[in-house]
C-alpha cells in the first residue's frame, strides 16, 4: 500500500501538478483564441505575442512596484501589477483592431486575409517586444516559493516520496478557476454575454435583431486580450519570461483550441488540459514510478519513457494532426469545419 501511495505522490509531484498548472495556462490562452474565432472567425496568429506583450508590461509594472517597496508577500508582486498589464495590452489590441482588422471586416474579406493581417500584427508586436525588453530571460516571480515543500510533505505524511506545491502553481490554478467561472457567468447570464453568443451563432441575424456588432467585436477583443495577459503572466511566473517562448507556445494553444473545437469555450478548456497532460505524461520517465509498484526483477532496463523530453511540443502537434484527421470540428463544436 505504501508503494502505491509513493507512486501516486511521485507522479503527482513531477507530472500531475505541473501538468495541471501548464494546462490552466494553455486553457486561458486557448480561450482567447477561441473567443476571437467565434466572433471574428479567424485564427489569430498574433495571440502568442499578445500574451508576451501583456507579460512584458506586467514585468515593468512589477519592477516599478518592487522599487517602491510594494509587496503582497507571500503572493508574487506580479499579481498586483497584472491590471496595468491588462489595461495597456487591451488598449494596444483595440488599436490593432481599429487600424488593421476593422477595414477588412467592413470589406467582408476572406478569413485568410484576416489571418495574413494577423501575421503582420504578430511581426510588429514581436519586434517591439524584443526591442523594448530584449530577447533574454527575465525572472520576476517573488514572494514565497512554496506553499508546501517536499520536506514539509514528507514530515507530515511520513512517505518516502515527497510532493511540493509551488506558490505560482497554486496561483495559476486559482486564477484560472476564477477567470473561467467569471467568463462563463458573463457569457451565460449577462445581456452583453448573450448578445455575444448570439452574434457568434449567426452574425446577420444578431445584427438584424439590433445587436451592436462593433460593441460585440470590441468586447471579444477585450476579453481575449485580458485572458491572454493573464495566461502570459501566469506562464512567466511559473517558468520564466522569454519572448521567444511565447511563439513556441502559440502552437500548443492552437492545438488546444482545435482539439476542443474552435469557437467553443468549454472545448478550449478541455483541450488545454488534454494537451498539457498528454505532453507531460508521454514524456515522463516512469522508471521510479514503476519501481514503487512492481518487484525489482520486473523492472524495465531504460527510463520507461514513451518519448524523449525533447519531443514535448511535438506531442501537441501530433494530437493536433490526429484531431484534424479524425474529427476536424473538435470535441465540442457543432459547426461544420
Amino acid at each position: 500500500m505504501d508503494g502505491f501511495l509513493n507512486a501516486i505522490v511521485l507522479l503527482a509531484n513531477f507530472a500531475l501538478v505541473p501538468g495541471a498548472a501548464y494546462g490552466s495556462q494553455l486553457a486561458l490562452g486557448a480561450l482567447g483564441v477561441t473567443l476571437i474565432f467565434a466572433v471574428l472567425r479567424f485564427s489569430n496568429f498574433a495571440h502568442g505575442e499578445t500574451m508576451s506583450f501583456g507579460a512584458m508590461i506586467t514585468i515593468f509594472a512589477t519592477w516599478a512596484l518592487q522599487s517602491w517597496g510594494v509587496s503582497i508577500a507571500p503572493l508574487p508582486t506580479g499579481l498586483l501589477a497584472l491590471p496595468i498589464g491588462i489595461i495597456v495590452t487591451v488598449a494596444v489590441v483595440l488599436a490593432s483592431d481599429k487600424f488593421v482588422y476593422a477595414y477588412y471586416r467592413e470589406k467582408r474579406s476572406d478569413q485568410v486575409i484576416f489571418l495574413i493581417a494577423s501575421i503582420g500584427v504578430m511581426f510588429v508586436m514581436a519586434g517591439l517586444i524584443r526591442f523594448i525588453i530584449g530577447p533574454d530571460d527575465q525572472i520576476f516571480a517573488d514572494g514565497a516559493r512554496f506553499v508546501f515543500s517536499v520536506r514539509d510533505f514528507r514530515a507530515v505524511t511520513g512517505l518516502e516520496e515527497g510532493l511540493a506545491l509551488k506558490t505560482t502553481q497554486l496561483v495559476t490554478l486559482v486564477t484560472a478557476i476564477v477567470c473561467v467561472v467569471a467568463l462563463f457567468l458573463f457569457l451565460g447570464k449577462t445581456r452583453t454575454g448573450k448578445s455575444m453568443r448570439a452574434y457568434a451563432d449567426n452574425e446577420d441575424l444578431a445584427t438584424l435583431s439590433g445587436i451592436d456588432a462593433g460593441r460585440v467585436v470590441r468586447i471579444a477583443w477585450i476579453l481575449s486580450a485580458t485572458l491572454a495577459v493573464i495566461a502570459g503572466v501566469l506562464y512567466g511566473l511559473d517558468k520564466s519570461y522569454k519572448p521567444f517562448v511565447f511563439q513556441e507556445l502559440l502552437l500548443p494553444i492552437f492545438a488546444a483550441a482545435i482539439v476542443g473545437g474552435l469557437g467553443s469555450p468549454v472545448g478550449a478548456i478541455v483541450g488545454g488540459y488534454i494537451i498539457a497532460f498528454a505532453e507531460v505524461l508521454v514524456t515522463y520517465a516512469y522508471k521510479r514510478f514503476l519501481g514503487h509498484l512492481v518487484p525489482p526483477d520486473w523492472m524495465p532496463d531504460g527510463l520507461a519513457q514513451l518519448m524523449g523530453t525533447e519531443y514535448k511540443f511535438a506531442v501537441a502537434f501530433v494530437i493536433l494532426v490526429l484531431t484534424l484527421l479524425i474529427r476536424p470540428t473538435g470535441l465540442f463544436n457543432k459547426r461544420a469545419a
Binding site: Q111, V112, L115, A117, Y311, A314, V318, V321
Partner: protein, 447 residues
C-alpha cells in the same frame, strides 16, 4: 478570396515589372559602393535563394490559394538532403548500427503500409479504429525496439565529430534535386492528410507538421547530428585557399590590382550567384510556362471558384495535391541551396518567423499569383531584412544622441536595434495588404 473580387483594370505596363528590379539592383550596387562588395554579394545570394522559396509559396498560394505555413519544414528537409547525399559515409557507424537503423525504418514504413491496406479492407468504423490503434502501437513498439540500440550504437561512434551515419559522398548538386524530391515526397503525405481542410486549419496543420519535422531533425542525432550540427559540407564551387594557388588567379589578381583574399572570396560568391541565377531562371521559366498552360488556367479557375470548377468536372482534390507537391518541392530545392551556401546544417536555426512567415511577407509584398512579383518581393524583403539592422542602428544612434553615451536607455536600445527589422516587416506587410493588396507587381489579368 481576395483574388475573386476583381476590378476591371488596364494591363500593367512592362515598366511596372522592370522598375522594381532596376531599383533593387541599384540598391545592391549602392551597398557594394557604400558598405562592401562582399556584403552586397552575400545579400544578393540570399535574395536569390529566397526568391526560389517565394516562388514555391507563390505556386501554392498565388496559383491555387493554398495556405502552406510549413515552409520551414520543407526548407529543413532540403537541408537534410545535402547532408545525406554529399557528406562522406561514416563506415564505422554503418557497421555499428546501419543495418539495425535500416530495418527499423523499414518496420515504420511497413507499419504505415499495412495499416493503410487494413483500412482499405476493413470498413466498419469501430473495428477499423481499434485495429488502426493496435497496428500503429505494435509497429511503433517494434520499430522502437530495433531502432533504440542501433541508433545508440551509431551515436556512440566518435561522438565529438561524427556519431551519425554520414551520407553517400555524392556531388552536392545532386543533393539539390534530391532535396526537392524529399520535400515533394513529404508534401505528398502531408497533402493527403491535410488538404481539404479549411484554409486556416490547413495553415495550422502545416505549421504543426513542419515543427514536428524540425523537432525530429533536432533530436535524431544518428541522422544528421541533431543540434550538434553538421559542418564542412562539400561545395559545388572551388575553395578560396585552393584557388589562390592557381596561375589564372594570380594573373587576374595582378590585372585587377586586388589583394588575393578579398578577390578569392568575391569569386566564390560570384560563382554561387551564377549557380543560383541558373536555378532561379529555370524555375521562373517553368513556373511561367505552367501558369500560361491549360493547367495554369485550371488552377486559377479552381482558386477563384472551387465549386464552379468542380461542377465543370475538374478534380479539385487532385489538382490541389499536385500543386502542393510541386510548390513544396521548389521550397525543398531552395532549402538545399541555402544549406549548401551556408556550408553547414543547423536544425536549430529553422524558426517559423524567419523561414515561414518572412517568405509569406515576400510573396504578399511582391504580388501573389505573379512569379516576377514573388521574385522581386523576395529580393526587396530580404534586402530590407538585412539592411534594417545597420539602418535601425543608425537611426537609434541618431535619435538617442542627446542622451549621452553613458545612458543605459541608449545602450539598451542600441543593443536591441536589430529587432526593429521585425517591426519593419510587419508594417510592410500590413501596408501592402491594405493599400496595394495585389502587391508590387500585380497578377496579370488573363481573360
Amino acid at each position: 478570396m481576395s483574388q475573386s473580387v476583381r476590378t476591371p483594370r488596364t494591363p500593367a505596363s512592362p515598366m511596372r515589372t522592370v522598375l522594381p528590379f532596376a531599383v533593387f539592383f541599384l540598391l545592391i550596387v549602392a551597398v557594394g559602393l557604400l558598405q562592401s562588395w562582399t556584403v552586397a554579394l552575400t545579400i544578393l545570394n540570399m535574395c536569390l535563394v529566397s526568391a526560389v522559396m517565394a516562388l514555391g509559396v507563390n505556386v501554392q498560394w498565388g496559383y491555387a490559394g493554398l495556405v502552406n505555413f510549413g515552409v520551414m519544414g520543407f526548407t529543413a528537409l532540403g537541408g537534410l538532403a545535402v547532408v545525406v547525399i554529399a557528406m562522406p559515409t561514416v563506415d564505422a557507424a554503418w557497421q555499428a548500427g546501419g543495418p539495425g537503423v535500416l530495418f527499423g525504418l523499414f518496420l515504420l514504413l511497413a507499419t504505415a503500409a499495412v495499416t493503410i491496406a487494413m483500412r482499405r479492407v476493413v470498413t466498419a468504423r469501430l473495428p477499423r479504429m481499434v485495429l488502426t490503434a493496435v497496428f500503429v502501437a505494435a509497429g511503433l513498439w517494434a520499430a522502437n525496439t530495433v531502432l533504440g540500440p542501433s541508433t545508440a550504437a551509431v551515436e556512440g561512434v566518435n561522438p565529438a565529430l561524427e556519431g551519425y551515419l554520414g551520407g553517400f559522398g555524392a556531388p552536392v548538386l545532386i543533393a539539390w534535386a534530391v532535396g526537392a524530391l524529399l520535400a515533394a515526397a513529404a508534401a505528398f503525405v502531408i497533402g493527403k492528410i491535410a488538404l481539404g481542410l479549411r484554409a486556416d486549419y490547413l495553415a495550422i496543420a502545416t505549421l504543426g507538421v513542419s515543427e514536428i519535422i524540425v523537432a525530429v531533425l533536432m533530436n535524431e542525432d544518428w541522422l544528421a547530428r541533431g543540434v550538434k550540427n553538421v559542418v564542412g559540407l562539400p561545395r559545388p564551387v572551388p575553395y578560396e585557399v585552393d584557388m589562390r594557388t592557381t596561375a589564372w588567379f594570380a594573373d587576374l589578381a595582378d590585372r585587377l590590382g586586388m589583394a588575393a583574399v578579398p578577390l578569392s572570396s568575391l569569386i566564390v560568391k560570384l560563382a554561387y550567384a551564377g549557380l543560383f541565377v541558373v536555378v532561379l531562371a529555370l524555375i521562373l521559366w517553368l513556373a511561367e510556362r505552367a501558369l500560361a498552360s491549360p493547367w495554369g488556367r485550371t488552377m486559377r479557375a479552381v482558386r477563384d471558384n472551387e465549386t464552379a470548377a468542380a461542377a465543370m468536372g475538374k478534380d479539385v482534390k487532385r489538382l490541389h495535391l499536385l500543386v502542393f507537391i510541386v510548390g513544396s518541392g521548389i521550397i525543398g530545392l531552395a532549402g538545399a541551396m541555402l544549406t549548401t551556401l551556408d556550408g553547414q546544417f543547423t536544425p536549430s536555426s529553422y524558426q517559423p518567423l524567419r523561414f515561414t512567415f518572412l517568405v509569406w511577407v515576400m510573396v504578399i509584398v511582391g504580388g501573389a499569383g505573379n512569379n516576377w512579383g514573388a521574385t522581386v518581393g523576395a529580393f526587396i524583403v530580404w534586402f530590407a531584412w538585412v539592411e534594417a539592422e545597420p539602418v535601425g542602428h543608425f537611426v537609434i544612434d541618431w535619435a538617442t544622441y542627446a542622451l549621452g553615451d553613458d545612458s543605459p536607455i541608449r545602450q539598451h536600445l542600441l543593443q536591441n536595434a536589430a529587432q526593429m527589422r521585425h517591426v519593419v516587416m510587419g508594417v510592410l506587410l500590413l501596408v501592402v495588404l491594405r493599400f496595394a493588396p495585389r502587391g508590387i507587381i500585380p497578377e496579370t489579368d488573363r481573360t
